[in-house]
Amino acid sequence: MAVSPGILQELRKESGGEDLDLSWLDRPLAERGLRVAPGKRGLTLEDIATSSYGAIPASTSNQSGRMRGAAPRSDAQHTQMIWPSKAASWSESAMLLYEEAVQRQWSSAVDVPWADLPDLPEEIELAMSQLCTFLTQVEFIAGDVPGKYAPNVSGEYFEIGLFLASQIMDEARHLDVFRKRALANGIGLLQAGPGAIGLLTAQDFTEMASTLHLVGEGFVQSMFRMGEMFAQSEVDKRMFRLAAQDESRHVAFGVMHMKYVIEMQPERRDEIHTYLDRMEGQLGTGSAQAGLTGGGQTGEALAILLGGGTSETQLREGYLKLLAIRKRQVNEYMHRLEVVGLGDRRQRMAPMMQALLN
């Protein structure tokens, strides 16, 4: 839909109009005439992914900064960093999850009722500080890893880039809220663990979805969802609930990416299994059966929180509950594998995890 020639002619005839080109109005190379109205959830990315702007190409030769649907220029600068294929990063749920992320942002400063933090026995607060030291340690990694791939995501698939930014924001808030929790009780940070730098070794976006989203964040999500069990007050419950909500989005993004890849490129199944083999090996080898969510010190801290203290009875109770969390982690992991199309992993899973399957 071009601007009427009459108007253009008049503009050119105006004083000062002689140097106007106006060909971009005369012969627009991008689709025009879109009138997208907001729906129940406002004006969303899905609403505007319509007509040619919603045609997401399976591959692209666009190596410039051009956003999907914009008109090209012949002198636009190129960068070879940009991945040409949709399957390299696409996740069907990215638009929805991004919009949800925007709507469900929260503040670690005011949305957690810090003033209500009760005075609890020191051993309990020590254990909470230890758990939060572990959590605050690994949270940035979950932002650094997706960030690493953002420069490769083409403007043709910009929704993926936007989702990654929302995950980076969420992880920052997680780092921050767990740090605050460790510092709120007069104890402070405690023993750092071996950390999660290994996740940064990912060499491929789908490898990242397998190792970070499906396994790493998946296990953390299951644990946060059971936060009621080890939370010591409304403050902790709220903190874990809010964090769990965010993790669900990250996990869902990765799951939907893997599902897409396995559907579009079934030849990658074996390769993806090897990433999971590696993760399960790492996760299964931790001592004190704590490897599934951190080092031995985190397992012990969790057991103390779950059992309500350090007496033998309490610890026994704590480790039993911890085992229940592990079971849930492994079974929810298995469920995600089924969703992405890797249900055959039930037979291939590391024995220590297999033992916990229903």
């Binding site: 025009r32 990315l45 900064g65």
Partner: protein
Amino acid sequence: MADSETQGQPQAAPIAPEIPGIPAPPALDMSWARVPTARPAKPTIGAEGFTLKMADAGEYAYAPDHWPYENDTPRGSYPAKDRGLPAPYTIYEKAEVWAENCADLYEAAIREQWKPATQVSWSSIEPLPDHIEASLDQIFSNISEQQYNSNAVLMGWLKEISYGYHEVKLYLATQTFDQARHVEAFRKRALANGGGLGVQAPGFLSRAVFAAFKFTELTVYVNIIRTAFLLALCERGDAIGRSQADRQLFELTANDLRRHLAYGVEHLRHYLLQGDDAKRRNVRAWLERGEIMLAADLRRDRPLREALILVLGGSVQAGKTALRELRQAQLRRYLRALESATFVGHEQHVNPALTEIIDNP
């Protein structure tokens, strides 16, 4: 006594029932509870809640000039004996990333986050003459594309910044999320009112952003040059926008950009004050490069130039005058930012390519 951590305790009897394949838990150790980390004072929570600045009080506030740990050890925790793989971080010097205002900007950004889908009065937009709508869309497309570039590249830099400067990484996360929403919001506006996207940008400055070798160089291009120019444009949103929604977009974006500029200015100031002449020389080189690339974009981008002329004036002539005023305002914004960063007197040294396109836009 973290040293006792790996020595273990005498094996006591297992305390939970065994499941085949699952080792029994060990006896109580709690060496992690005896590590010599600082005990902070309990905070008194005020109206702003429990802020990062309050949390990182006392010893926890101290960010050393050089961060010594190569993994993800949180600042203030007791480092593990087994730290696993050294991370790929390359930035361990405070001078390369620090800005004194990060913790405050981080909390401010979270307080001020807005939601493009629901907080912009999309239904306030009325149909406009085709050439005006198309011109607005050209401007919106340009902003969306610029912010996508800033955002994508910045996200890629996070893995370079070591863990000790968490305030910086936290702040930068808010900046990426702001930029993502700018990409989103302006694209939505371009598609909402009978229009579509315009022509892509030439991409000279975007290419420089990709090619930045140093983090401070990146912030010079993104947080100083691009942001100052974009901010001055958004601050004229009343003259550009035609609806309440347009004005909201410009106003909310400007508010975010002021934080981005504030980080850029504070960081540049810190970088310059920590250093010697060499640092000043670096900044001069980056500014020159950024100015040349920006000038190339402005000179080549005819659709953007003409869109601004058509939108800013009631007539072509008036539009041209208004465009020159806009360009001058942008340059002033930029120079003022440099002055605040203690880089004074630059108005005499702006690259001629840029002054030329400012004077004859």
